[in-house]
């Protein structure tokens, strides 16, 4: 009884505290909504035709008549990119002379290779995003196609994709995935990873700062304190993701498929995983700001790698990335939306939760040492 009352006291106060942190709320809720909108719609016809935009010079070294080339010559893309089709060698010269901002190439396995200077500016970012959106769309397509047995359906989808990438209904009543559909998933997984920062903030405040001294000298048991804090930060984080989810669903019309509970469960797994990693980092680094920085670095890199457009030859390591929590979440969510291999999805989802459990156990053991 006492425990339950104390738990709810910790939970309620912490929950309020998390939501009243204006920076966290802005960064983790408003920002992703904006990003999904901007990136997801960059290639759709929402842009007004008279939008004053100087196309960004880009070198393209791809085989003629490849899917990528057809895509890039799309009217919408040409609004943004000023393309120079050439071979790989010339492309590199152009880049070195600053005549183009990035080079887009097609790897053997159909993946994109984007080359850009280390000090890439804003234009290179935008150009990369455009190229990326092709990858995102074709990835989403892949999921749709793998599960489709009807060849006719596939070709039709392909044609529509190449002709116009804005939202369209196919004659079969199936929705054609567009860039925003993929972005919404990537973004949502990414921000849910980032929401672990709520955990760093709250746990640091309530256990390791002066306020922490106050909590630790209060007659509240550690399991009650920790579970209260964890529930508050996890719920806050999940709700932040949910707001973005609902926004993407109702306002941007992102297609989330018919198995929404499974999508939401996966997102919850990501949320929990991120809390575990972040609290672990806080315990390990023992410094609030440094832990924040480390978490940002890790999540940013994992999103970047899981995004797929950077083909880095990791060899066997690439396999590891395929089993990164970020990739697992993508597999399950795309599987849920466009249909996927059920047993692989189950396996991946279980693996995601298993990672989380392991992370919590390690964090718990480290925490015991740290507080001794």
């Amino acid at each position: 009884m006492t425990n339950l009352r104390q738990f709810s006291a910790v939970f309620i106060a912490s929950f309020k505290y998390c939501w009243r942190n204006p920076v966290a709320v802005a960064v983790l809720t408003a920002f992703p909504i904006l990003i999904i909108f901007v990136l997801g719609n960059a290639l759709s016809s929402y842009m007004s035709p008279d939008y004053d935009f100087e196309p960004i010079p880009v070198a393209v070294a791809v085989a003629e008549e490849s899917g990528l080339q057809i895509f890039l010559q799309n009217e919408e893309v040409l609004k943004f990119l000023d393309l120079t089709f050439t071979d790989a060698k010339t492309a590199l010269e152009l880049l070195e002379n600053d005549d183009v901002t990035i080079i887009i190439e097609e790897g053997e396995d159909g993946k994109l290779i984007v080359t850009r200077p280390r000090t890439a500016g804003m234009n290179a970012q935008i150009a990369t995003s455009v190229a990326d959106s092709y990858m995102q769309t074709s990835k989403a397509m892949e999921y749709a196609i793998i599960n489709s047995s009807d060849f006719h359906e596939i070709t039709e989808l392909m044609q529509i994709l190449n002709a116009d990438i804005s939202v369209t209904e196919t004659p079969l009543g199936k929705r054609v995935p567009s860039a925003i559909d993929y972005y919404a998933v990537t973004m949502l997984v990414m921000i849910l990873l980032y929401t672990g920062m709520n955990g760093i903030e709250l746990f640091n405040k309530s256990m390791f700062s002066e306020t922490g001294e106050r909590m630790l000298t209060a007659p509240v048991s550690k399991p009650v304190l920790i579970s209260g804090l964890l529930s508050a930060t996890t719920l806050t984080s999940y709700l932040q993701g949910l707001i973005t989810f609902l926004f993407s669903y109702f306002v941007y019309g992102v297609y989330w498929g018919e198995r929404i509970p499974l999508v939401l469960l996966t997102l919850f797994g990501v949320t929990l995983f991120s809390q575990a990693v972040c609290i672990f980092l806080l315990l390990l680094i023992k410094n609030h700001n440094a832990a924040m920085g480390a978490a940002q670095g890790i999540f940013w890199t994992s999103t970047f790698v899981a995004g797929g457009y950077v083909k880095i030859d990791f060899g066997a390591v690439q396999q590891v990335f395929d089993y990164s929590p970020n990739s697992l979440a993508h597999t399950v969510i795309f599987g849920a939306i466009f249909g996927g291999n059920e047993s692989k999805m189950t396996f991946d989802l279980c693996l995601l939760f298993a990672y989380t459990a392991v992370m919590f156990v390690i964090t718990f053991l480290l925490g015991k040492r740290r507080l001794a």
């Binding site: 009352r5 006291a9 106060a13 505290y17 405040k205 002066e210 001294e213 106050r214 509240v220 001794a372």
Partner: protein, 321 residues
């Protein structure tokens, strides 16, 4: 004995923060723990509230051996009887003053109508009733400090530990806090008060421990400590028409060590605590006394005499906020 800390040692690598420190507090006492920066006051407090594990030593609280664990591992029954005001502000800045107090009240098992009553009372005694709904972010330094104390007394602890509660605040808030501590002690709360402002400790505390480099270098009432370390007190007496014979009479008063006359001013040195001022005045009654001043030894003098250092180096030496 309400608190008994024996022979406690705490080391941080090569640094010995506490060097066989022993502290004792009787119920109802206000013990002042006085010492310069780095003396080990906060370290001592962290150990006796169970936040830090000592390397050696014994700790008894409320007559019970509480062991040596750290990380906040005291039994709940002991924790409930202690209130800690940490040296730095320990508040949730985005929760209102009231919400902060309610939160800590609940953690100590106070709920419902009783909680509301205590929150109201606490806001009242700390002069924060008007700003109960505001968040501490918008408070002045002094208001934050007062709320910081409020969060530690909401559960009416038997032992209240305050670690430099008046650092960096305005005189008004400071007086408020000192009056408050005085009052709560009168109502029966035992107080451990650390500071490096000797005026505060002189005003509040029935007993003082002076710490330096992790050790207690003096222990007792302000008077006792002064007596044992400073042997002379100075009295100056101004007389309208002085005569050398008066010098001789004064010298004969018990406790007087020396007396010199310079113009109209007698400078008398006297043994500490001899209480001979009335007797000296009596001797001087036949003359017209223009003025008297007695300068008793302050803790500052004591500290200087004991360590050759000043209590506070230069400025206030506190935080700015």
């Amino acid at each position: 004995m309400l608190l008994e800390m024996n022979d406690t040692v705490k080391r941080y690598r090569a640094l010995t923060a506490l060097d066989h420190l022993s502290l004792r507090i009787q119920p109802g006492e206000t013990l002042g723990l006085l010492g310069p920066n780095g003396a080990g006051k906060t370290t001592a407090i962290r150990i006796l509230t169970g936040l830090t594990k000592a390397d050696a030593g014994e700790l008894r609280l409320f007559g019970k051996n509480v062991g040596n664990k750290g990380g906040g591992a005291f039994p709940a029954s002991v924790k409930r009887r202690i209130g800690l005001v940490p040296q730095d502000l320990a508040l949730y800045e985005t929760l209102s003053a009231r919400e902060n107090l309610e939160y800590f009240g609940k953690l100590y098992g106070i709920y419902g109508a009783e909680l509301k009553k205590r929150v109201d009372e606490t806001l009242e005694v700390l002069g924060l009733s008007d700003v109960g709904k505001k968040v501490p972010k918008k408070f002045s330094g002094g208001m934050k400090r007062r709320l910081n104390i409020g969060c530690a007394i909401i559960h009416k602890p038997e032992l209240l530990i305050l670690d430099e509660p008046t650092v960096g605040i305005d005189p008004q808030s400071r007086n408020h806090i000192l009056d408050f501590v005085d009052e709560i002690n009168r109502q029966g709360t035992t107080v451990l008060y650390t500071s490096h402002y000797m005026e505060e400790v002189e005003r509040l505390c029935s007993r003082v421990c002076i710490m330096d480099a992790g050790r207690v270098i003096a222990d007792g009432t302000v008077g006792q400590i002064a007596k044992s370390t400073i042997f002379e007190e100075m009295i100056t007496l101004k007389i309208k028409e002085p005569s050398p014979s008066l010098t001789e009479s004064i010298k004969k008063v018990q406790g007087v060590i020396n007396c010199t006359l310079e113009g109209k001013k007698f400078t008398i040195t006297s043994a500490v605590g001899s209480g001979n001022l009335p007797r000296i005045l009596e001797v001087a009654t036949p003359y017209t006394i223009l003025g008297v001043s007695a300068q008793s030894a302050t803790l500052e003098d004591v500290f200087l005499a004991l360590t050759g250092k000043r209590l506070r180096d230069g400025m206030d030496g506190g935080e700015a906020s």
